[in-house]
Amino acid sequence: MIYVQILLVSLGCLFFIVGTLGLLRFDDAYSRIHAITKADNLGLGLLVLGILPSALSVPQGLKLILIWVLVLAASATASYLIAHYIKQHQLSKLPHGARPDTTADGQDAEPDPTNERGPQ
C-alpha cells in the first residue's frame, strides 16, 4: 500500500510542477489559467488520494476530501473571476508590465470568432 501511496503523491507533485510550467510557458493569460487550474486540481486530487489511506480516523479522511472539494470550488470561481476581469479590461494581449488602457471599453468589443492571438 505504501508504494501505491508514494506513487500517487509523487504523481500529484508532478502535476503541480506541470501546472506551474504551463503558467510560465503559455504566453497569454487565459491559457495560463487553464494550465494552473486543471493541473493543480488533478495534482491535489492525487495528493489527497495518496494520503487518504494514512488517515487515522474517518473524520480525518473526510477532512482531506473536504479540502479538495473546497479548493475545487475556489479555483473554479477564481478562474472565472480572473478570466472575466482580463476580458473586461482587455489585458490578455498586453505585454509584460504594461498597464491597461483605461479608455478602452472591453464590453463593447466586436465579437471576434478568430483566435485572440495570432498563430505562433
Partner: protein
Amino acid sequence: MRYLVPLLLSTLVWWILTEAAQAWVVGVPVILVSTWVAVRLQDTDSGSAPTHRLNWFAVPRFALFFLWQSLQAGLDVAKRTLKPVPDINPGTLYYYTSIPHGTARYFFGAIVGLFPGTLCTEFSEDTDQLVLHVLDTDVDIALDCRRLEREIERLFKLPAADQQGRPA
C-alpha cells in the same frame, strides 16, 4: 426544509473540521450562524435568479463524471505543456447554452473551467450566450459542453432541453 439541508451540512462540516472532538459548546453557535448565513444568501440570490433544487440522488453519478473529466483535463493540459513547443491553439468560443438562468447556469459557468480545454470568461444574465476561452480551437469543445449540460440537467432536475442550443 429550507433550513434542514444547510443545518445538516454545517453540522457535518463542523464534525469533520474538529475530527469528532465533540466541541459542541463552540460548535452549536457556529453551526447556527453558518446555517443562517446560507439561508440568507439563498434569499438574496433568488431575488434576481431562480434557485434550482439539487437532486441528491444524482450527485454520485455527477461526481464520477466530474472525476473522470478532471483526470482528462489534467492529462490534456500536461500533455500540451510538456511538448517542446507548447501545443496550444487558443481561441474564443461563443456558446449558446440550454441551461436556464439561475443556480444551474452559475454552476455551469464555474465548473466548465475545470473541464478539459474550456474556461468561461463572460457570463450574461440576459442572453443564453456564454463566452468560453478554449485551449485548442481544433477540438470539438461544443460537443463536450453539451454532454456537461445533460449531466447538469440530471443534477438539478431540469427538464431535458430540446436541442435548441446552436453550436457556436
